[in-house]
Symmetry: C3
């Protein structure tokens, strides 16, 4: 129609026109269908979607928050207690390894001591495969068995006890299996107390908190941990930890095992910091029923020099290893996830329209009428769709009334 305008447009007028058009406001044309049943379906679907978003996405899942997992964490532990075996008293220095008070430490509950080992030659352990022998010829000198205790000397010698003979090896002698003595020091172990000082920091939110009450009195010297009553007294009895992990203390103390003390800091930082509290849980971490590798033990030695000979006391220690594991998630209101979820909610509410359009055009008894109201067809090729009553004479090129060719043609 611009072509039919009496005044020929200049470039300036065209630009002016487009600038003007830029400020036009466009809004879709909408068909309002006065049908109570359809309206009820439409609003019900919208309500369901709205409820889902308000309740589940925003309230339960807190999707309006930006979150951070895995806080920076620092752990200091300190074990207190004293125990005794048959003939000796053991203090913390002796049964906690390593002593530095980090997040992973072992409380030794049983030891097998092989005292007075020196470098020399002695019978190999009978548990090592292919060590039993009858003659020196059964033992190849210079052989080093990866699971053995030393270098074979080539001789076949009587075992420490019993009738058997095994190959002689050169190494730390006597070997463990021949001379170890067992001591159980777990008798008082359930009463040991473990203080776990933990402080966390969420760098994204610049939030720090510790797990210890800031009290001026000597409360921390007297209290013991009680999840429900006071989570800010992180002093745990070892027996309590093992019990909470669902394990039998005596069995665990004999074979060793790893118990995880899991500290969980789930914090909603939109609330005051007093709502961000640690939650403790306890779980056995090592595989329990794997025959070849169950339990937890390690070996260490104390070295002495007597009369210019080095001797060592080899100790195979079974114990309860405590792994303090900290995890957590902090959330705080943030615009981006809020907007993403709001936009998703709005888009999803629109999904109700799909359903209602389909009902409208398929099931409603006047769907032809609705269909013609909703859809305004323009064809630039001869009409190919069967079931359409457009007269063949009506071509868009002849159409001088752009918005309603069919209606006018039928007048």
């Amino acid at each position: 129609m611009a072509a039919t305008h009496p005044k020929a447009p200049t470039a300036q007028r065209l630009a002016q026109g487009c600038w003007s058009a830029f400020w036009d406001y466009e809004t879709p044309k909408v068909i309002v269908v006065r049908n109570r049943r359809l309206g009820v379906v439409y609003r019900a679907v919208q309500l369901l979607i709205l409820l889902y978003f308000v309740w589940y996405v925003f309230i339960v899942q807190k999707s309006y928050q930006d979150s951070e997992t895995g806080p920076e964490s620092s752990i200091i532990t300190k074990v207190k207690g004293i125990t005794q075996s048959e003939h000796k008293v053991w203090d913390v220095e002796e049964y906690v390894k390593p002593p530095e008070g980090g997040s992973v430490f072992s409380i030794i509950t049983r030891i097998e001591v092989t005292p007075f080992q020196t470098l020399g030659a002695c019978p190999e352990s009978i548990r090592v495969p292919n060590t039993t022998c009858h003659l020196d010829a059964d033992c190849t000198a210079g052989e080093l068995d990866m699971l053995g205790n030393g270098l074979r000397t080539g001789r076949c010698v009587p075992y420490y006890h019993g009738e058997a003979k095994t190959c002689e090896v050169s190494g730390w002698c006597p070997v463990e299996d021949g001379a170890a003595v067992s001591h159980f020091l777990g008798k008082m172990a359930p009463n040991f107390t473990i203080l776990i000082k933990n402080s966390i920091h969420y760098p994204k939110f610049q939030f720090s908190k510790g797990n210890i009450a800031h009290r001026e009195d000597d409360y921390l010297r007297r209290c013991t941990f009680d999840q429900g009553f006071d989570p800010y007294c992180p002093i745990f009895r070892l027996g309590f930890i093992v019990e909470q992990a669902g394990e039998n203390f005596t069995e665990l103390a004999h074979r060793g095992g790893v118990i995880g003390v899991i500290i969980n800091w789930d914090c909603d930082l939109d609330l005051p910091s007093s709502h961000c509290n640690p939650k403790y849980s306890f779980r056995r971490l090592d595989p329990k029923h794997v025959p070849a590798s169950s339990g937890y033990n390690f070996r260490f030695a104390k070295y002495y020099r007597v009369n210019s000979t080095t001797t060592r006391t080899l100790i195979k220690a079974y114990g309860i290893r405590i792994d303090v594991i900290v995890h957590g998630q902090a959330g705080k209101f943030s615009l981006i996830p809020t907007i993403i979820n709001l936009a998703t909610a709005l888009t999803s509410i629109g999904v109700g329209s799909f359903l209602c359009d389909w009902i409208l055009l398929t099931f409603m008894n006047k769907n032809k009428v609705y269909s013609h109201k909703k859809f305004d067809k323009i064809a630039d090729t001869p009409d190919r769709c069967v079931g359409q009553g457009l007269p063949s004479s009506e071509s868009p090129l002849q159409d001088s009334t752009p918005t309603d060719p069919k209606g006018l043609a039928q007048l």
Copy 2:
């Protein structure tokens, strides 16, 4: 109108028709409102939303990137330096525990030494509750106090010094409180240097980097760390670390404490890898003002055998524990977050329409006109909405011109 079609449709023609209809292009019909004020509001709202997305979401928050937090990290540390107490020189082997050069280690700055402990009987420490006694009857033989140092023998004996008497215990004797001697070895400690070798790896992006300059000369033997000047010389003076953490060195050295060296690798992997640099920060990690548990200390011992008796030197070590904590976040362009955020942006820009529709239909002086332009009503029950000027004679069933019943009826 299909019903009025002269040729009865067969299934084949119907299918053909639908196939043809499948290729129709549908686009919503739009009302253009020529109102400069409304247009300005509309474009302003769009511009605000666009600016928010372009500037904040895409530029500041880099939402077009896929991200990964918590890189795989490996840390090797090495302390160098030498210090002296009143009568002895201490080297690294003696004051760094554990020696393996991991991410957590302690630099001992003060020790309380209890030398020549042997297994025997001696007075219990006076600090242990309920140990002071007057008569043997006050001490129950066989009692084991968890906070004590040994098994009570049942005798009441004079304390190491002073007038008091305490219960005798069987254990490592003399007990710490009775015989410990303090040595301060933190005098030169501020000058110790700590080399922290850190290499990280982001598995999702297959990106690795280390914190050490790749220089061929002996630069690393001479340099010290300077955040602004050269972040690739990770050699820190202990005094610098403590100062950066805002602590007083002397106080810290006396009572012990934990300092975190936090290495932060925030990397935008869309940029060259030279833009991905470590940032160091330093923070005191243990609770400072908790009376019962402030500071950091641990006990270890050295065992000797002299004349077939085992003696030990018990050392209560106060020190500065360094926890090297690595965290970081890497981001790299990825299609999914880009598309999610773009789609959100587009959806959000549409939000401007809600506002303008509301203004259009509520405040504009010709809102009836707009309303009738925008909304095209179909009722299949008699019109119930008051305030609507639809003639009662106009029923959709009579309406043979689907798109504009009212206009045509009024002609």
Copy 3:
């Protein structure tokens, strides 16, 4: 038009009307364009976007899942094997530090032993800067060099060997550089076996798994690791680990180094738990070609007391440090990401409309017709846009047929 209604509306009727209007169903009016080329473009764009979402976003990226990274992890390691240097057999207790079987441990492959150190005075190491001297005047008594081995006594003494003279220091004597003897114990080290017990837990999904086969026989005593064949036998030969990390064993054993054993638990928890298997990879973690700091070594000592003098054996240990690093990501179907991604997909499919609208209005030969069909203009000020054929007499206020002023005016 409400104003022209014969019956004056009361508040009650108005409310009733609005309540009634609330249940109206609104659906946008749509223009159907019968153009096969445009339809093909439209459907093709939709198909591409759909394919992208179905294939890439949902199938490849599994965006319908909620995910959790960084499982809680517990590691127990145990090294087995025996090796020999020139004149001595070494067992696990001697070459593994620390012995507790944690996730980070070192296997010592070469040592430099400085035996029989005592506190005393001796020449400073010639490697320490500024220690060579000619006269006592070159050495300042009481000076403590941070890189040295002791406190200068102020005397200039002949070095341990050769012609040089260095300042005398008071400390542990003799100093390392003067008296150390090297032993290589890595000869059999490639055959050491390392058992790595790992159990993980994803707290969000309450899912736990270990890396050890639950078999009742003594399978674990016999097997060795083979990624393809059996990932549930986590017993690794040290030689295998070093080889997989692409390193030369002999070189590594001489200079030391850190090898990462990375266990990756990528789990799709929508599948049965048997599909969640650990994947092992091996990588050198310390910087290899940094001259001043390559390799890995640390110092430790054994203390002896002989004739009331304390002596120590200082050991500088070079070794292969194994860092077991666990990471992983678990995903499980969750409504929120599914809905967010579906909504994004639907929104994105709408993007096809933008493209087609643009083609429709710009390139199609009948675009004036389409434009007039699509856009229905209302102006409330005199028409300013050039190139528009609206008669000036047509003002919306005169317009009694709201939906199609132009068409009717032209009739």
